[in-house]
Each structure stands twice: as structure tokens, then as C-alpha cells.
Amino acid sequence: MSDILTYTPVEEIPKIRDDLRATFRTGVTRSLEWRKRQLYQLARMAQNEAEAVCDAMTRDFGKPRFEVIVAELSAVIRVALKSAEKLEEWARPELPDVPDSQKNWKPTIYKVPKGTALIISPWNFPVTLTLQPLVGAIAAGCCAVLKPSENVPHFSELLAKLVSQYLDTSAYRVVNGAVPEITKVLELQWDHIFYTGNGRVARIVTTAAAKHLTPCSLELGGKSPVVVDAAYDMELAAKRILWGKCNNAGQICVAPDYILVPRQKQDELVRGFEKAYRTFFPNGALDDADYGGIVNDFHFKRLSTMLDRSQGEKVGGAFEGRRDPARRRLEPVIVKGVDGNDSLLEEEIFGPLLPIVVVDSLDDAIDFINARPHPLVLYAFTEDPNVKERLINETQSGSIVFNDTFQHLAVAELPFSGIGESGYGYQFLRYTFEAFTHLRSSVDIPKSEESRLSLRYPPHKPEAYQVLGSALNIRIPE
């Protein structure tokens, strides 16, 4: 246990789950007004405590204040308020359009909460990745346990305090800890598990969930490729890519991981990167408050080793590639001419290293991507509709974004998820609400339908076959 983070005693964990289940049973979360109040409180918490949160993130890994406010707190506030606004619409029972013969059956789809959910979140965007799923769980009427990451101890300690102050603790709790605590949590039955993190731990989570048949949402990662078309404006591409890479020092699931560019354009792209870098960080990134640090020593070492082992050519010039292990600061590094077996292509980088792989054709780029697990997002800088069409049709990815990097996250109305190794289950706004909601179908058949329905009862008369088995004579198109 660290000095900063108070771990939840393992013996208390089952009781916490049971308390939340008991609360759910009382039906208190059913009321939409109640849910809205919790959502406003959550928004209030993000607004009032912005400074405290920024401070915790600075202490944890030097995350720039700007990024915390714009990319995390603002997003949570907007999403909480939007969800409260839309709640009536989302929770409203649906009345599907049915054939005339079924119209008197009152076919209805009720939106009911699944029950008590578990939300496990990572260290890199801890505000968004803990609280956005929580917004969905609250909106859906679920109770929830949050298990934030022990890799951001200041944040997680603060979160436990704030949740107990702002939200109804009979329905929402925070469990803090490391391996023994999460193991205990995963032994218990939950009605839904929302896990954001990596593929290795995702397998542990889903294996534990299998024992209880618990449905899961997995928001994972992988290597998100960037395809750059020769005809695109290299300077603009470089600016938008570099911005994506420098955000949180590259520690984001949808960071542009590596680039695929035509051989003859590599140097022009590199010049674009240099220009953008000088604009972003006139004195270099090392001591710039607008550039973040690496979360901990383990990851700092992992990235350093990955970089040192690379056989590619490190671009110099503006990119000095300075490192400060004591403060875990690592300047962005561009590496040219990387081949498929390079150390930088072995695993998701999750850091400020940007390998460039040269290709000789779009076919090569597509083959390179398809030889690897499905990415969370595929980026492509191109105006050519044929190139776009081919990438759409011949690859698979969680999302596909043209001509920018992670702006799709800002469009909260788009469903966000991975596919294959990058995960499954959607989130954002209505989609998060749906992740925690069960669609309970319903019909109510009046007696007056008996005249129509009685043909189904035995003894089965010949006319019954004609009427009820009539599809066997349906005119099927040629």
C-alpha cells in the first residue's frame, strides 16, 4: 500500500457489493429525477473540484493542466449534463412498429437497469475513463463500484473522497487497491463489468466474468496506424499527427501509434513534424508545462528500452530527444525508415515515440495493417475518394478517422469501441447508457385476440395449417 492511496480492506469488498445490491433492490435508482440529481452532482463535482483534480494529476505524472481541463473535466461535465437532458428520451419505453395482426398485443421495449455494475479504469485519462462510464451507469439506473488505477494514487485517493461527498454512497462507491483487491472484486458477481485497459488484463477480467456469465465491455487499445497519402498536405498532416502524439505524451489509447507513408514523401513529412514541433514547444518539450510526463518508472524504462533497441534512424534537428529519468520526462522522438520487425512495432507504444514505416503502394499499407491485430482506430490523411473507399472496405478497425487524430472522441454522438484485440462494447452518451441497460421486451395479449390465436391450439385442424403455416407458400423473389 502506498502512503498516498488508502487501499480498501479486502474483507470489506463483498459487503460493499452487497450494500449496493440491497440499494438497487429498493428501487431508489428507478426514478429519473433521482438519477438526474446524481448526474448534476457529478457535473458539480467536476466543476468545483477542477483545481484539486488538476493538482492531483500534476503530482501523479505531470499531466498538463490544459489537457485535464479541456480533454477530461469539460468532457465529463458536458456528457453528464447531456445525459441528464436526454435521459427521459433514452429511458422511455419504445413502441416498435409491428404488423397489424400484432398491434393489439401492446408490444413494448422497457429500458431497465442491469443492476450493480463494476467500472475498472486506467491511469492515463483517469477522469474521463472513470466518470464517463459512471455517467452511463447512473443514467441507466445502475449502482456502481469504481475501481480506479493505483498507478495514479493522488487521483484515486481524491476520487474516493469526492465520490463520498458528492454522490449517494448507498449507490456509488470507490474501491482502491492493487492486485489482491482487484482479485477479490473479480471473484464477485456483477451485472456488468466495464473494463478499460489492456488486452492481457482484459483476458483475466473476462475469464473471471465467465464464471458468473457477467457481460463485459472492453475498451482496449493496440497500435493505431496512420496512413498518409502522397497527395495530402504534409505540413497539415504532420501538425495534426504530432498534436495527437504529444497529447498526454502519447499515453492515450487512440494515439497515432505509427505512420505508413510513401517512400518519396518521408522526408517532407519529417520536415512538417519539425516545423510543428517548433511551433508547439519553442524551447523543446522537456520542461514545457504544456507537455506531460510518463506515468511511472516502469513505463519510462519500457519506452527508453524500446527506443534504444530500435534499428530505425532517429530524426535529429529540432527533436533533441532529451530524457530526464528523475522526473520521467521523455521528449517526442521521430524514427524514420522503421521495418516491420522493429522494436517500435512489437507492442502498443503508449508514449511519445513515432515510428515511420515507408511503403511503396496503398496495397502494401493495407497488407501491413491487416497482418496485425485490428486497431482501435485507423487514421488516414487523404482527400482521394478511392483511397478512402479501399481503406474502408479492406481493413477493419474500431473507428476510422480521415484527416485528423482523435477528434472522433469529441463527437460524443458517435459510438466508440474496438474490434477484435482492441475490444468490444460501445460507449459515449446513449451508447454508454445502453451498455448498462437491459432491453426488457413485453407484450400483453387481450382476450379479444383469442379468435385470431385459437388456431394454434390442438387438435390442429387443416385450416390451421393453411393460415399459420402460410409462409411456406410465401412468394419469395426470384
Binding site: 448534476y40 400484432q102 407484450v443 400483453d444 395479449i445
Partner: protein, 493 residues
């Protein structure tokens, strides 16, 4: 009829080869076009229509299923589903625009509907056409390549499907794998874009544990004990008819069969009388008459059901006839059953209907909530307040009033369980959605940075406040109290 009990199981090598072939076909984009998908769906409809007599024979061999039940619940239903998909696929697959957002509309945000890849469906013995081919329709409509592992417990129907599918559908995109435990184990070791498992909770856990190793998403359609709550003031005659029908179809081997009844003690005998009257109307020459009532799928299940009945401490009100050779169990009502009776220990999946007398509806609700969430909860009542009370205070896959089974036939209602009864929805468009990946996309023009350039470092206070004004929100007035009545609403008072 040929010896249908000797199914030719796939070898493990064949399974690997099938997986590899279908993956290649998917990559080659064989089902990318809507037209290609419609051809396969149409072929499937003809497969059924052309062979309906052979199917009826196969059902009789496997399940002793009366011809009308087969036509209505399986063949008819599946052809109908083909038509719905054939007509709907173009619309279902169309790319959707994201709801309008002032800030982001220039980036043209859209949601593409894409196939997931090569998917696997494992289907059970009880509805061996509808539960086997239904998912196939939705998966193909969504553009996926599809492997079906149908049940070895319904060998005549599964064998027939395995024979006919390669004749009607393209073997590069759809394959049938026949087998039992070793073959299924091999299938589960491979990575799939999605697995749909329909069957028991016990096996579902095995499927999910295997899928966890490859991060394959799984949907499960399971079962459980679907309770029937009867309001003694309801129209009992109609209720009895509809409950008996639901229980007798397929000899009770239906995941949403009404499993047991909860009714106030003093109404129990009335209910029994109404059920008996219906029974006699349904089977004037008796349920054992050939061709009017189904049989238990195999001897193991027959013995299981007979054992549950023999060990029950309840009283058989009527029925209770069994014939092991014929795998026949007559529709049987057992009264005065208690919560710990053998008949309450597991999903019945047979034509035995226990009645559990309770004091009142509150006790019925507590009884239900003490047990696993059922796949369907049935309530028979004309009183809106009664229905609302039961449904609002319980949780179940579906909530059905005043009939049984028919909710599966309503196009537009998602069918799925919750908790131990399963997760994920299917039927018709919901099956299409199950096998579809929503791939979000946007396309950002250069000029957008005239506004959004503020996102780029160096980060200045001016940029921060500009972005806040662009993206920020105004909160409603501060709440005064939490729902639990406390005044403590957090800092900032």
C-alpha cells in the same frame, strides 16, 4: 429415412481449414455487397420451402414434433425472417449520420455498419431450425461469414441442415460443423469475431471462459425457470389455455416455456380445474395419440425429468403418465409444490407444470427475486396495477402479460436474457445488430483549424478560455437535497 443417428463429425483438421477458408473469404470481401447477401438469404428461404416435408419428417424423428408446431414455430418463422432480412438489409446496413452537432458537423461524423468478420453460432436441439438458421440470416445480412455448430442431440434435423446448406448456400461463406464435445472444444480454441451460444448456463460458462482467451465477444441465450404469476381475479379460462399451450408446445422443451406457477393458495384448485379442462380440449383422444404432442429429445432427458417428478413432494393433480421407450411424458400438473422441491431445483424443460401456492402477490415477488433472473416473466391479470407491481419489482429478460411464447414472434422486440438467463439480443434486426460493428468515422477538413487551432500548443489562457466558451456548459441550479434526504450536497454551498 437414412440412418440419421450416425452423423459424420468434422475432423479437427477440417475445422481449422474451414476457419481459415472463411477468413480468407471475408478478407476477399465476398459478402461485402448487399446484393451478394440477399442472394444467400433468398437461397436459405428456398432451402426451407423446397424441403419442408423432409424437415417435418426429421422433426418427427428427433422430437416427435406435431407437423403444425414445426410449420408454425420453425419453418414458417424462419422463412418469414428471411423475407424480413431480405427486405430490410439495405436499410439496416446503410451508414448513419451522427446526430447534428454545431461544433462537429463540418467533420462529417458518420457511423458505418460493418460486418465483424467470421462468426460462430452454437445452437441447441429444441428449436433446431429456428435457433440454427435464424442467427445465420442476421449474420449474413450483416456481411459476416458464418459457421454453425448445430446440436448433435437433434441428429435428423442437424444432419439435414448439413446436407442442404452446401447445396443452396456458398460454401465459401457459410459452413456447418457437425460434432460433439471434442469438435466444439476445437472450435472454441479458435478466435472468432463473435460467438452466439444458445443453450444451458453450465456450457455457457465453458464457452465464455474459452472465448476470454481470445477476447472473443460472446452473446448467450440461456434459460432458467420462467415463472407464471396468476392474479386469481383474471380471466382464468383464457389464461389456462395460453399457459397450457406454452407448456405443451414441443413437450415443454422451450427456453421460454412457462416453467412454474405462483398463485394464492385458495385459488390453486380453480387453476388446476381450468388447466385440466384445457388439456382435455387439446387432446380429446389423449396426448399420447401419435402426432398430436411432442416427445422428450432423448433418454437421458427423459430419465432426468422422470427423476424430478418421482422425487417431488407435491401432489400430481393430473397427468404423470410416462413411457420410456417412447420418451413420452404426458402434460402433468403438480400442486402444493414448495420452494425446495425437486421440481424447483432446475429448469424443467419438459411438460411438467408445478404450482407453488403463495399467500399473496408480495410473496410471489419475493419468491421470484430470491432466484435467478428468469428469461421471461409471465403475469396473467387484467388489472394494470397488479401487472405493474409484479413487473416493476422484478427483473427478467422479457415481461409478458396474458400469453406465453408469442413475444418471440414480434418483429421489433429484442429477445434476450439478463444475469444467468443470458446477455445480448437477437431476432431479425437485433440479430443483424448483434453481428454488426459500428465503425465511427469522420473526415476533418483543413479549414476547421481556423476555429479549432486553439487545441494546439503552446497552451495559453486565451486558448483555454476560448475552448471553454466553445465547448463549455451552464449547469442547472444547484440541487438542495440528495434523494436520501440528506442536506449534504458537497462543497460549494
Amino acid at each position: 429415412m437414412a440412418d440419421t443417428t450416425q452423423l459424420k463429425y468434422a475432423t479437427l483438421n477440417e475445422i481449422d481449414a474451414i476457419h481459415a477458408t472463411l477468413r480468407q473469404s471475408f478478407r476477399a470481401g465476398k459478402l461485402r455487397s448487399i446484393a451478394a447477401r440477399k442472394v444467400q438469404i433468398l437461397q436459405l428461404a428456398y432451402l426451407i420451402q423446397d424441403n419442408h416435408d423432409r424437415f417435418k419428417e426429421a422433426f418427427a424423428a428427433d422430437l416427435g414434433r406435431p407437423a403444425l408446431e414445426t410449420a408454425l414455430l420453425e419453418l414458417d418463422a424462419t422463412i418469414g425472417d428471411c423475407k424480413i432480412a431480405y427486405d430490410g438489409v439495405e436499410k439496416w446496413a446503410r451508414t448513419e449520420k451522427a446526430p447534428f452537432s454545431l461544433n462537429f458537423f463540418p467533420m462529417r461524423p458518420v457511423i458505418r455498419k460493418e460486418p465483424k468478420g467470421v462468426v460462430l453460432s452454437i445452437s441447441p436441439f429444441n428449436y433446431p431450425v429456428w435457433l440454427a438458421l435464424g442467427p445465420m440470416i442476421g449474420a449474413i445480412a450483416a456481411g459476416n461469414c458464418f459457421v454453425l455448430k448445430p446440436s448433435e442431440l437433434s441428429p435428423a434435423v442437424s444432419g439435414l441442415i448439413a446436407e442442404l446448406v452446401p447445396k443452396y448456400l456458398d460454401p465459401d461463406v457459410v459452413r456447418i460443423v457437425l460434432g460433439a464435445v471434442p469438435e466444439t472444444t476445437r472450435l472454441l480454441e479458435l478466435p472468432w469475431a463473435h460467438i452466439l451460444y444458445t443453450g444451458s448456463g453450465r456450457v455457457a460458462k465453458i464457452v465464455c471462459a474459452a472465448a476470454a482467451k481470445t477476447l472473443t465477444p460472446v452473446s448467450t441465450e440461456l434459460g432458467g425457470k420462467s415463472p407464471v404469476v396468476i392474479d386469481p381475479k383474471c380471466d382464468l379460462q383464457t389464461a389456462a389455455k395460453r399457459i397450457m399451450w406454452g407448456k405443451c408446445v414441443n413437450a415443454g422443451q422451450t427456453c421460454v416455456a412457462p416453467d412454474y406457477i405462483l398463485v394464492p393458495e385458495d385459488a390453486q384448485d380453480k387453476v388446476v380445474q381450468a388447466l385440466k379442462a384445457t388439456h382435455d380440449e387439446f387432446y380429446p383422444t389423449g396426448p399420447s395419440t401419435a402426432g398430436v404432442f411432442g416427445r422428450i429429445v432423448n433418454h437421458a432427458h427423459f430419465r432426468r425429468l422422470k427423476g424430478l417428478l418421482d422425487r417431488s413432494a407435491g401432489e400430481i393433480a393430473f397427468g404423470g403418465e410416462t413411457n420410456e421407450n417412447d420418451k413420452y411424458i404426458s402434460p402433468t400438473i403438480v400442486k402444493n409444490v414448495k420452494g425446495d422441491d425437486s421440481l424447483m431445483s432446475e429448469e424443467l424443460f419438459g411438460p411438467i407444470l408445478p404450482i407453488v401456492p403463495v399467500k399473496n402477490v408480495d410473496e410471489a415477488i419475493a419468491f421470484i427475486n430470491d432466484r435467478d433472473n428468469p428469461l421471461t416473466l409471465y403475469v396473467f391479470s387484467q388489472d394494470a396495477a397488479f401487472k405493474a407491481k409484479v413487473f416493476d419489482n422484478t427483473l427478467s429478460g422479457s415481461a409478458v402479460a396474458n400469453d406465453t411464447l408469442v413475444h418471440c414472434a414480434v418483429d421489433g422486440l429484442p429477445f434476450g436474457g439478463i444475469g444467468p438467463s443470458g446477455s445480448g439480443y437477437h431476432t431479425r434486426k437485433y440479430t443483424f445488430d448483434l453481428f454488426t460493428h459500428l465503425r465511427s468515422s469522420l473526415d476533418s477538413p483543413a479549414w476547421v483549424d481556423a476555429i479549432f487551432g486553439s487545441r494546439f500548443p503552446p497552451y495559453t489562457a486565451k486558448k483555454e478560455s476560448f475552448l471553454k466558451s466553445l465547448l463549455g456548459v451552464k449547469l442547472p441550479p444547484r440541487p438542495r437535497q440528495l434523494a436520501n434526504g440528506t442536506d449534504q450536497v458537497g462543497k460549494g454551498n
